[in-house]
């Protein structure tokens, strides 16, 4: 079991140990977010995708996002894991879990973390489309344009 607050995983992630790590007697609220591979993106049917990362920088920047969240919100804990490599439709690409005494902080921090991860962490998505086309996604602005 990984003990870091943010890491990249090159194989499917078992959620049970993540939930156990998040457990805390003081925690009354657990908010989590998962990004799943959709079968379409902006109207184009998607067959699958691949995530590539600059691993050293991504893990440092992801850990920084979690540290900032813990400073900014009143939390018991926060964790995030992001997949790299090949993924199929329905696979989980990212998991964020946040615990807090109260639900407001848990929801706010969970959403803040996924927004920052998508905005700042050097991970790139390569999509394969049903029509045989494929390409890297380099959004003009990440925030608010994707799942």
């Amino acid at each position: 079991m990984d003990t870091r607050d943010f890491w990249l995983a090159d194989a499917p992630v078992d959620l049970a140990p993540l939930r156990r790590r998040a457990q805390h007697d003081r925690a009354g609220a657990f908010a989590s977010f998962e990004g799943w591979v959709r079968n379409h993106n902006e109207g184009r049917p998607v067959h699958g995708l691949r995530y590539e990362s600059y691993v050293a920088l991504a893990e440092a920047e992801g850990a920084q996002v979690i540290a900032e969240a813990r400073a900014k919100f009143d939390l018991c804990g926060a964790l995030c894991v992001h997949r790299i490599g090949d993924l199929a439709i329905g696979d989980m690409a990212v998991w964020v879990g946040v615990t807090a005494a109260h639900r407001g902080a848990a929801f706010d921090a969970c959403r803040w973390i996924i927004d920052e991860i998508k905005d700042r962490v050097p991970i790139w998505k390569h999509e394969r489309y049903a029509d045989g086309d494929a390409g890297w996604l380099h959004p003009e602005t990440t925030r608010g344009t994707d799942a």
Partner: protein, 80 residues
Amino acid sequence: MSTVHLLYFASLRDAAGQGGEAWTTEAVDLRALYAEVQARHGFVLPVERLRVAVDGAFARWTDPVRAGSEIAFIPPVSGG
């Protein structure tokens, strides 16, 4: 003359046909260095849409090029 190691990711890697390379340059800063590499490989992404990292930490385009450093050009990210 400084020799640095460059890292390419995602569409930059595809355009360069490699994940990285040694590069010898007289560029005064990282912005000038990207201009050289962009011309060499035909990168379509303008410098304004990239970030740059040196030795595993984000850097500024106005930072000087240090010999022996590992420099990564970071295209717009799309994780999540």
